[in-house]
């Protein structure tokens, strides 16, 4: 065990604190679900990239900071931003899922073309995986792509596509080789959303915003070089992406930041004249969550360390999404309670503007339920944890329909 700060680490910490003092007032608000970054957010992201507070380990030639992978550095940055209540920068599916996928299996050209604008928040990606009726069985994708004149021609339908209504690009899982076995017939394509034949129909959710979409493809033509790896490698690539998604969803630094934001909210809110921070019943709920967040943050550092050692994370990785999303929801539930009746005013400002504090928390509270459902419900996560993680037997195949 060694969490010692070297001189470099101490310098980094001092540098961030200075940055927070100087520029902290320019930070956009955290939370509130996904939306296209506004100018304030783009400017903030640019500042973070310049100093390596975002995309720190992404090579310079792809627009990153080119820092060495250092678990402690990452932890210091996350901590300092969390404590100062600053936005840690843009977090979206392009940055968290596509970029690491391209770094892992993309061509040099794909990396040079896509990574830089993606991490700057200029190119927004959406994920074309789920299809109607297929539930969590992604490998059963029916959306077809056939080759014609140097292009893939795509027909079919995706659903639950978050951000599609404002995204520039989609990474798409589709069936290119229907005659091959289920998992071997898939390919992974990069598709501009402006391509003719793409019809995006927003799916308004309980937050009142269109977080998801249905996306229809009619003879959508994409050059054949817009494939990641080769034909039939789609399932492999998609799983790399999903692996990165699972890590993203459990991000403990966002949870830690929520703890601090709720603490702050508690000092500003009063019930019949009494500060909520001085109500032990509510304070105890925050402390309990703080302990759990502290555990999840430590767990995250442990995973980083073990990954650096090349150890197989096994069940330790599989639990992250489940407990991370559940914990996130419990935190926003507490925030909603602290806001109380005064916080019931709800005015989402849509994609372009920043929401007020109460609206942001309410969106998170609902959106977190979406996260618990999306990409395999908590129930399916528990099956995966028990079967893959603990080796418990699978359910017997049903001999008859229920």
């Amino acid at each position: 065990m060694d969490l010692t700060y070297s001189d470099t680490h101490r310098a980094l910490q001092a540098e961030i604190r200075e940055f927070a003092r100087t520029y902290g007032h320019l930070s956009p608000r955290s939370g509130g679900g996904r939306k296209r970054p506004d100018q304030k957010t783009l400017d903030w992201q640019r500042r973070l990239l310049e100093r390596g507070y975002a995309a720190r380990t992404i090579p310079r030639e792809y627009g990153g900071y080119g820092g060495a992978s250092d678990v402690l550095e990452a932890a210091i940055i996350a901590d300092e931003f969390s404590r100062a209540g600053l936005s840690p920068g843009i977090m979206n599916q392009g940055i968290s899922m596509l970029v690491p996928t391209l770094l892992e299996v993309g061509t040099e050209e794909q990396r040079r073309r896509w990574i830089a604008p993606t991490i700057r928040g200029e190119v927004i990606w959406c994920q074309g995986y789920s299809e109607p009726g297929a539930g969590s069985d992604l490998a059963s994708a029916q959306t077809r792509a056939v080759v014609d004149d140097g292009h893939f021609v795509i027909n079919g339908q995706k659903i639950w596509t978050s951000s599609a209504h404002y995204a520039d690009m989609m990474f798409l899982l589709c069936r290119t080789d229907p005659d091959r076995p289920k998992h071997a017939g898939l390919s992974y394509l990069l598709v501009p959303m402006t391509t003719p034949g793409i019809d995006v129909r927003p799916l308004t959710t309980m937050t009142g915003r269109a977080e998801f979409n249905e996306v229809f493809f009619t003879d959508v033509r994409v050059p054949v070089d817009q494939i990641v790896m080769g034909r039939g490698d789609g399932w492999h690539v998609a799983n790399i992406t999903l692996k990165h998604e699972r890590s993203m969803l459990g991000d403990p630094n966002r949870l830690m930041q929520r703890v601090h934001r709720i603490r702050d909210l508690m000092t500003r809110t009063r019930i019949d004249g009494v500060r909520v921070a001085d109500m032990p019943e509510l304070r105890d709920r925050l402390l309990r969550l703080q302990g759990e967040v502290m555990a999840s943050r430590c767990h995250y550092l442990r995973l980083l360390t073990e990954r650096a050692r090349g150890e197989d994370p096994g069940v330790k990785q599989l639990i992250v999404k489940y407990f991370g999303t559940t914990l996130g929801h419990r935190l926003s539930a507490l925030a909603v309670d602290v806001l109380g009746a005064a916080g019931l005013v709800y005015e989402p400002r849509g994609e372009a503007a920043e929401d007020d504090e109460a609206t942001t928390w309410h969106i998170d509270y609902m959106y977190d339920i979406g996260l618990m459902i999306g990409g395999g419900t908590s129930q399916i996560q528990k099956n995966i944890i028990a079967e893959r993680g603990l080796g418990l037997p699978r359910e017997p195949k049903a001999s008859a329909r229920g």
């Binding site: 539930g135 069985d137 659903i159 639950w160 799916l203 308004t204 959710t205 309980m206 009142g208 998801f212 809110t269 009063r270 019930i271 019949d272 004249g273 909520v276 109500m279 019943e281 509510l282 929801h329 539930a333 909603v336 309670d337 602290v338 806001l339 109380g340 009746a341 005064a342 916080g343 019931l344 005013v345 709800y346 005015e347 309410h362 509270y365 609902m366 339920i369 979406g370 618990m372 459902i373 999306g374 419900t377 908590s378 129930q379 528990k382 049903a398 329909r401 229920g402």
Partner: protein, 364 residues
Amino acid sequence: MEFGPNDAQRLFERLVRKLLADHLPMDALHRLANAGSGFDDRFWSALTELGVAGVLVPERFGGAGLGVFEAALAAEALGYHAAPTPFAAAAVMAPLAILGAGSEAARAAWLPRVATGTARLGVAFETLAGSTANSAVERRGDRLSGCLESVVDLAGATHVLVVLDDGTLAVLPVDGPGVRAACRPSLDRTRPPGQVHLADAPAEILEPGSDPQRLACSVVDAGRTMLAADTLGAAQSMLDRAVAHAGQREQFGRLIGSFQAVKHMCADMVAMLEPCRSLVWYAAHAQDAIPEEARVAACHAKAHLAEVGREVSRMATEVHGGMGFTDELGLHYWFKRIGANRQLLGGPERCRQEAAAAQGWSTA
């Protein structure tokens, strides 16, 4: 002794439920909720005709002359249908306040109009209701200045009844001089919260009863009981939908209700929720007939339904999978209504603090 509604009470409940089912199919609910005003003239008239608006108004003033218990049955039904309408303040808290204070002349002036649905009073508290609202009012003679947040039932209101910290009750017309009343865009699109600004606004100060603070508390208690009943109905509605969905949706080649995980979520929901019905009945009955238990029962009903409502609303949404998260299905109207009920008139921790104090268990 009979624990539960008697025949007359069950008849009343059935009539209310029938009316709501007729008026609020999902497309109507979508329409009214999207409008977001929390009030619809035609729907209100229908409720009034059935006696819902005047449920607590004595017969001599033209009301139904029923009790808080019957009002809770109506509130449960309103919650079950996520009805976009005033009720807790307009039909319960305000008439109770006027019955408990005010001169006989004031009663004769107000209550018949409450019963006919033509006077609709929103209710606002300065602080006594345990909420996070930033409300403060200054009184000079019969004139009030200040700001009131989280006003209950301001939607469609003709007047607002203000409960000051000393228990004083003041009534002002929403369009009177010095009064600026507006509903705010709300999480719960079926019942928007209100805000009232008062600038030296002339008010009718009701003649205080024998114990104004106690009356104010009992108005809060009745309001909390209504919110608890509303959550009960809303949660029951979500549970019923979840069970129906689990019994017809197939995934992985099976009805999802045949999976133990789904089954046990449904079992947990019903095991939590069903005893709540009896608790709400008891709390409502206590307001009518057991004064020494009224406060503790109301606090517990409000707090416990808030907790169970939150759990049921989350689990029922989860059972629906992605569909539960969409606007189209409309499940979220109940989810948000339950969420709003939890916060209005004091969250569960606050209500439990008051239950402790009422039993002499704390000095709070």
